[in-house]
């Protein structure tokens, strides 16, 4: 667990309002640590889930967005299922990703962000994910071939679990949804 000294940062009222308007209530948190103790990935985070909630409640935006917790979270929902105050922590994490992206704050775990970004590119291009394209785009974006990718890709191909021809599904309908969202922003 990382000790946090957020004294240098000013509370960001707009950020606090944004979270409230999204229906999130980090202020209810009493720091009981149920989320952190339930989290299967807390060992891989610097700030722990209960610290993310606290930082969000206090409006320390820069701090909360600089940690690895929001990116490492696999959205398994263990924390929120057990939170005595019903705080939707996985959704808080999602909203925080979206704030970080909007404000161009670099992700502490760029590869995790890269995966999700190429997934959405793939969706925009084909209407659905296609594993070989996903792996290719991901390797290009991170400039590195993930360990074991090639051997696993070959076994998937040999077993017939992936095809060399991508499946295209509702490309237009999906691309239209992307377009409408972009137009609104």
């Amino acid at each position: 667990m990382k000790y946090i000294d957020a004294a240098a940062e000013e509370q960001d009222q707009l950020f606090i309002n944004e979270l409230r308007e999204a229906g999130l209530q980090p202020k209810l948190c009493v720091q009981c640590l149920t989320c952190t103790l339930s989290c299967p990935l807390s060992f891989a985070m610097d700030f722990q889930p209960h610290q993310v909630v606290r930082l969000a409640a206090l409006g320390f935006k820069k701090h909360v967005l600089s940690g690895s917790a929001i990116w490492v979270c696999a959205s398994c929902q263990s924390c929120s299922a057990r939170c005595p105050y019903g705080i939707d922590i996985p959704r808080l994490m999602d909203v925080l990703h979206q704030v970080a992206l909007r404000e161009d704050i670099p992700a502490q775990q760029p590869r995790i962000l890269a995966f999700h970004q190429v997934f959405l590119w793939c969706l925009k291009m084909l209407g659905q994910p296609y594993e070989p394209l996903l792996a290719l785009l991901y390797s290009l974006k991170t400039r590195r071939i993930p360990p074991g990718l090639i051997s696993q890709g070959i076994s998937l191909l040999l077993k017939g679990r992936i095809k060399l021809v991508p499946i295209i599904r509702r490309r237009k309908a999906v691309a239209d949804i992307f377009q409408r969202i972009k137009a609104r922003q």
């Binding site: 299967p40 990935l41 891989a44 490492v72 696999a74 959205s75 398994c76 929902q77 263990s78 929120s80 299922a81 939707d88 996985p90 999602d94 909203v95 990703h97 979206q98 992206l101 775990q109 590869r111 995790i112 890269a114 995966f115 999700h116 970004q117 997934f119 959405l120 969706l123 209407g127 659905q128 994910p129 296609y130 594993e131 996903l134 792996a135 991901y138 993930p146 360990p147 074991g148 990718l149 696993q152 076994s155 998937l156 077993k159 017939g160 679990r161 992936i162 095809k163 499946i167 599904r169 509702r170 309908a173 999906v174 239209d176 949804i177 992307f178 409408r180 969202i181 609104r184």
Partner: protein
């Protein structure tokens, strides 16, 4: 029993055998699955991770299409993928609760959506609507001699306000189903633990750690295999195993089709070859 079937993308590619086995099982048990015409991807993990509106709009389009299948008497949507299940059901619950949100999302989805179709997972349908007695009555070869653990993962049971068909900490439906088929299903500690989900490519080290813990726990109770209900869990549990002694991973529908004497057997497409199965 007629349902609007949402197959999901993974079941069209790397997890095709999950869909095939689910379909033959449903046909045998009188569960009529009618594929939602022109369905689209739900956006999965990356959708909600990066863009909540996108995630809701992609799901809402599918909800809207399902509603049109039988406008007077909406049919329930059935999915086999827990991630799709959670995405569709989350959208349904949120659109129902907020007319303002519904209006916004309908515009993005391009279709009016009243969110009136229920969303269910096939496991729920088989255990609670078809019923274990009915399934037991049709078994042709009992799966005696198999020691299997049931793995639910995350989205069949969490968040409990959305995925509310079984106990979130100690679900029993898959255990009861496999027991009805004659398998020996010991209790174990890994049932609802996370497999690492979409971190497969970006943090394989973390997936491997979570999977190793799960495999240890399954071996501790003497399991010969792990039964899952999710394509992502299936892939992570197979690819994340680092021990020399590997445990085979099955879909629950594969075992069901085996016990019902149907043509789809636990597939040879797995990375880890299943032990020879008696018919």
């Amino acid at each position: 029993m007629r349902y609007a079937f949402y197959p999901g993308c993974a079941q069209e590619s790397s997890a095709r055998e999950y869909r095939l086995s689910a379909e033959v099982v449903c046909r045998e048990l009188g569960v009529e699955l009618e594929e939602i015409p022109r369905w689209n991807c739900c956006g999965a993990s990356s959708g909600h991770f990066l863009n909540e509106e996108l995630s809701l709009a992609l799901a809402a389009r599918n909800l809207a299409l399902a509603e049109r299948m039988n406008p007077d008497q909406p049919v329930s949507i059935v999915t086999i993928c827990p991630a799709c299940y959670l995405r569709l059901k989350t959208a349904q619950v949120r659109l129902r609760n907020s007319p303002k949100l519904r209006q916004r999302v309908e515009k993005l989805a391009g279709l009016p959506c009243e969110a009136k179709c229920e969303v269910r997972h096939l496991l729920d349908v088989l255990v609670n609507s078809v019923g274990l007695e009915n399934i037991e009555g049709r078994i042709r070869s009992k799966l005696e001699g198999f020691k299997l653990v049931a793995y639910y993962g995350c989205y069949l049971v969490r968040p409990p306000e959305v995925a509310a068909f079984d106990d979130p900490e100690n679900p029993m439906m898959m255990d009861r189903l496999l027991r009805a088929l004659g398998a020996d299903v010991p209790d174990w500690g890994g049932k609802v633990n996370c497999c690492g989900g979409s971190l497969t490519l970006s943090r394989p080290d973390l997936v491997s750690k979570l999977v190793s813990d799960l495999i240890e726990q399954a071996l501790e109770v003497g399991a010969q295999g792990i039964v899952v209900a999710c394509a992502m869990c299936h892939y992570n549990l197979e690819a994340g195993q680092k021990r020399r002694q590997k445990l085979p991973i099955f879909y629950f529908t594969e075992f069901l089709s085996l016990a019902l004497g149907l043509s789809v057997k636990p597939s040879n497409k797995c990375f880890i070859a299943p032990p020879r199965l008696r018919r």
